[in-house]
C-alpha cells in the first residue's frame, strides 16, 4: 500500500477516536447539566426537610424527607448486614484456606455469578418468599434483599484488597504463635481497613441507588417507618413517581439532584476516610 494511503488511514482513525472521546465527555456533561438545569428550579429547603403533604404528587406542598431517610435506612441496614457476611467470608477464603483452594475459587466464581444477577431478580425472589410467608412490603425485607445485592459487590472489592497483603506477613505473625483468628481479624484486617471502608461505601452507594428490587419488596409510605416491619419509601422510587406525574416533574429532577449529591458525597467521603486510615497500611 502507498505511504500516503497508510498515513491517511492513520490520521482518519485518530480523528474518529477523538470524536468518540468527545461524544463520551459530551454525554457525561449532558447528564450533569440536564440534572442541574432541570433540578435547580424545583430545589427548595422544603424538599429535603419536609414529609410529603397531601397532593405532593399533584404539585402540592411538602418534600421527600421520607424517601431520603428511607434510602439512608435501607442503605445503612443493608451495608451492615452485607458487611457481617462479606468480612468473615473474604478473610476466610484468603487466610484460612491454602492458596488456590477449590472452595476459595468456588466462592469467587459464585460471587461473580451473583454480581451479574439483576436487581429485579433479587426483588422477585424476595416477593416469592414474602408471598409464601404472608409478609407485606417492609423496611426489613428491603434491607435483607438489598444486602443480598451488596454482598457480591462488597466481597469482590474487599477480596481484591486482601489479596494484595504480602504473604510474608502471615508467616511472621503465625511464627509468633498467633492463631489464624488473630492473624485475620487483628493484623490483616487492620492493614486492609481503608480498602474495607472503600468497599463498604461502594456497596452503600449501590444500596441507596437500587430501585428495582426495592420497588418490589419495600412497599411505600409517606411517613418514616416507626419499626422495621413498616413499609418504607426510597429516593429512587420517589424520583420515579414524581417524574411520572406531569405536575411534579421539576421536583422529580430536584430529588434526582439530591440523590446524585448524596452519592457523590459518600464517594468523596470514602476517599477521604481511605486516606486517613491508610496509616496502618502494609506494602502497596
Amino acid at each position: 500500500m502507498r505511504m500516503w494511503a497508510r498515513k491517511l488511514k492513520q490520521i482518519s482513525a485518530v480523528v474518529l477516536m477523538i470524536a468518540a472521546v468527545g461524544v463520551f465527555f459530551l454525554i457525561f456533561a449532558a447528564i450533569v447539566i440536564a440534572i442541574l438545569v432541570k433540578g435547580l428550579p424545583g430545589l427548595s429547603l422544603d424538599l429535603v426537610t419536609k414529609l410529603p403533604e397531601s397532593g405532593l404528587y399533584l404539585g402540592g406542598g411538602g418534600g421527600v424527607l421520607n424517601a431520603i431517610v428511607g434510602s439512608l435506612l435501607v442503605g445503612f441496614g443493608a451495608t451492615v448486614l452485607a458487611l457481617s457476611v462479606s468480612l468473615p467470608l473474604v478473610l476466610f477464603i484468603n487466610l484460612y484456606l491454602r492458596r488456590g483452594a477449590r472452595l476459595a475459587e468456588a466462592v469467587r466464581f459464585s460471587l461473580d455469578v451473583l454480581w451479574g444477577v439483576p436487581s429485579i431478580v433479587y426483588g422477585a425472589c424476595g416477593v416469592a418468599v414474602m408471598l409464601a410467608v404472608g409478609m407485606r412490603g417492609s423496611l426489613l425485607a428491603a434491607v435483607v434483599v438489598v444486602a443480598l445485592i451488596e454482598v457480591p459487590i462488597l466481597s469482590r472489592a474487599f477480596d481484591e484488597v486482601v489479596r494484595l497483603v504480602p504473604r510474608e506477613l502471615d508467616e511472621a505473625v503465625l511464627s509468633l504463635g498467633a492463631s489464624l483468628r488473630t492473624l485475620a481479624f487483628r493484623v490483616v484486617l487492620r492493614a486492609v481497613l481503608p480498602g474495607l471502608v472503600t468497599a463498604a461505601l461502594l456497596a452503600f452507594g449501590r444500596g441507596i441507588g437500587d430501585a428495582a428490587a426495592v420497588m418490589l419488596v419495600a412497599g411505600y409510605q409517606d411517613g418514616i417507618p416507626a419499626n422495621p416491619l413498616e413499609p418504607v419509601a426510597t429516593l429512587p422510587l420517589a424520583i420515579f413517581f414524581l417524574v411520572s406525574t406531569p405536575g411534579a416533574q421539576a421536583r422529580g429532577y430536584a430529588a434526582g439532584m439530591v440523590l446524585v449529591l448524596l452519592i457523590v458525597f459518600f464517594s468523596l467521603f470514602s476517599r477521604y476516610v481511605g486516606k486517613r486510615l491508610s496509616s496502618h497500611r502494609i506494602g502497596d
Binding site: R6, K9, Q10, A13, V14, L16, I18, V21, V23, F25, I27, A30, I31, I35, V85, P88, L89, F92, I93, Y96, R98, L103, A104, V107, S110, D112, V113, L114, G116, S119, I120, V121, G123, A124, C125, V127, A128, L131, L174, G177, S179, L180, R181, G205, R206, G209, D210, A211, A212, L216, I239, F240, V243, S244, G256, L259, V260, I263, V264, S267
Partner: protein, 297 residues
C-alpha cells in the same frame, strides 16, 4: 505454601485448637452457603414457577399471543422480543464508541488522559439507574419519544463504562513486545492497533460485550422510564415502537401477583428466564476473560 500448613499442624494440640476448629467449621459453612446461593435462587424461582408449566407447555409460553392472565393467556414472546431489541441496539450503539475511547486511551493518548478518563468512567458507572432514566426523560425522549430507541440510548450510556473499563484491561494485557515487533517492521500506529492489538484482544472484547449485554438485559427502572410500555403485550414492530421487556414486565405487574391467578407463577418464571440468561452470559464472559488473561501472561 508448606510453611503455613506446617505451622497450623504444629498448633493442633494446643487447648485453643478446639475453639479454632469450631470457628473454622462456622466460616466453612458460610462459604459453602454462598457457593450454593445461586443454585438456591435459580432452583427456588423454578419451583415457584412450576405451576405455570402444569397448565402451559414451553412452546405455548413463547407463542405469539397477547398477555391477559385474567383469561389465562400468558406468553413471554413480546417481552423477550422487546428485551432483545433494546439490548441489541444498546450494544450496537455502545460498542464502537466505547472501543474507540478505550483504544484512544490505552494506545494513543498520553498517560494524563487516562487520569481524566478513569474518574469520569467510574462516576458514570456508579450512578444509579434512576438517574439515567431521568436523563433519558429530559434529553432523549423529547427527540425520540417513549420507545425502544430511547431505551436503547439510555442503556447504551449505562453499559459504556463497563465496556471501556474491561477493554482497557484487555488492551493492557497485550504484551508490549508484540507492538514493538510490529513497529520495528515499519507499521504505522493504526496498523499496530488494527492488526496486532485488536486481533490479539478479540476474545476479551467479545467477553466484555457479553458482560455488557448481560447488564443491559436485566436493567429495569431506567428502561421502564423511557420505553413507554406495550398494551396487552403486543409484539413490538420496530425500534420506534413502544414495548415492554422482561424486567419491566415484572416491575409493572407485581402488584397483581397475589390477586390474579397465574400472575405470580408467570412473573417468577420471567425472573427465572432472566436469571438463566444473565448467569449464562456472565459465566461465558468470565471464563473467556480468565483464559485471555492467563494466555497473555
Amino acid at each position: 505454601m508448606p510453611g503455613r500448613a506446617a505451622l497450623r499442624r504444629a498448633s493442633f494440640a494446643s487447648p485453643r485448637s478446639l475453639l479454632d476448629s469450631g470457628e473454622r467449621a462456622l466460616l466453612g459453612t458460610l462459604a459453602c452457603a454462598l457457593v450454593l446461593l445461586p443454585f438456591v435462587i435459580g432452583g427456588g424461582l423454578l419451583m415457584a414457577a412450576r405451576g405455570l408449566l402444569a397448565t402451559k407447555t414451553v412452546a405455548e409460553l413463547f407463542a405469539p399471543d397477547s398477555w391477559n392472565p385474567m383469561r389465562g393467556r400468558i406468553t413471554y414472546l413480546p417481552f423477550l422480543i422487546g428485551t432483545l431489541w433494546v439490548t441489541g441496539l444498546a450494544v450496537l450503539i455502545a460498542l464502537p464508541l466505547s472501543l474507540a475511547v478505550a483504544v484512544y486511551a490505552s494506545e494513543y493518548a498520553p498517560r494524563r488522559f487516562g487520569a481524566v478518563l478513569k474518574p469520569a468512567v467510574d462516576v458514570v458507572a456508579g450512578l444509579p439507574s434512576v438517574i439515567f432514566g431521568l436523563w433519558g426523560v429530559a434529553l432523549i425522549v423529547p427527540v425520540t419519544g417513549y420507545n425502544i430507541l430511547a431505551a436503547a440510548f439510555v442503556l447504551a450510556v449505562m453499559i459504556m463504562p463497563i465496556i471501556i473499563q474491561i477493554a482497557m484491561e484487555v488492551f493492557s494485557a497485550v504484551p508490549p513486545s508484540l507492538r514493538e515487533a510490529a513497529f520495528a517492521l515499519g507499521a504505522t500506529r493504526f496498523e499496530v492497533v488494527n492488526r496486532v492489538v485488536l486481533k490479539k484482544s478479540r476474545p476479551g472484547l467479545v467477553a466484555a460485550s457479553v458482560l455488557a449485554l448481560a447488564r443491559a438485559f436485566g436493567e429495569t427502572l431506567a428502561v421502564m422510564m423511557v420505553i413507554g410500555g406495550a398494551q396487552k403485550g403486543r409484539l413490538p414492530q420496530g425500534p420506534l415502537d413502544q414495548a415492554d421487556t422482561l424486567p419491566t414486565l415484572i416491575a409493572n405487574r407485581y402488584g397483581e401477583m397475589s390477586s390474579v391467578p397465574l400472575v405470580s407463577e408467570s412473573l417468577l418464571g420471567a425472573a427465572f428466564i432472566l436469571f438463566l440468561v444473565v448467569v449464562g452470559f456472565t459465566l461465558v464472559s468470565r471464563v473467556v476473560l480468565a483464559r485471555v488473561k492467563r494466555g497473555m501472561e
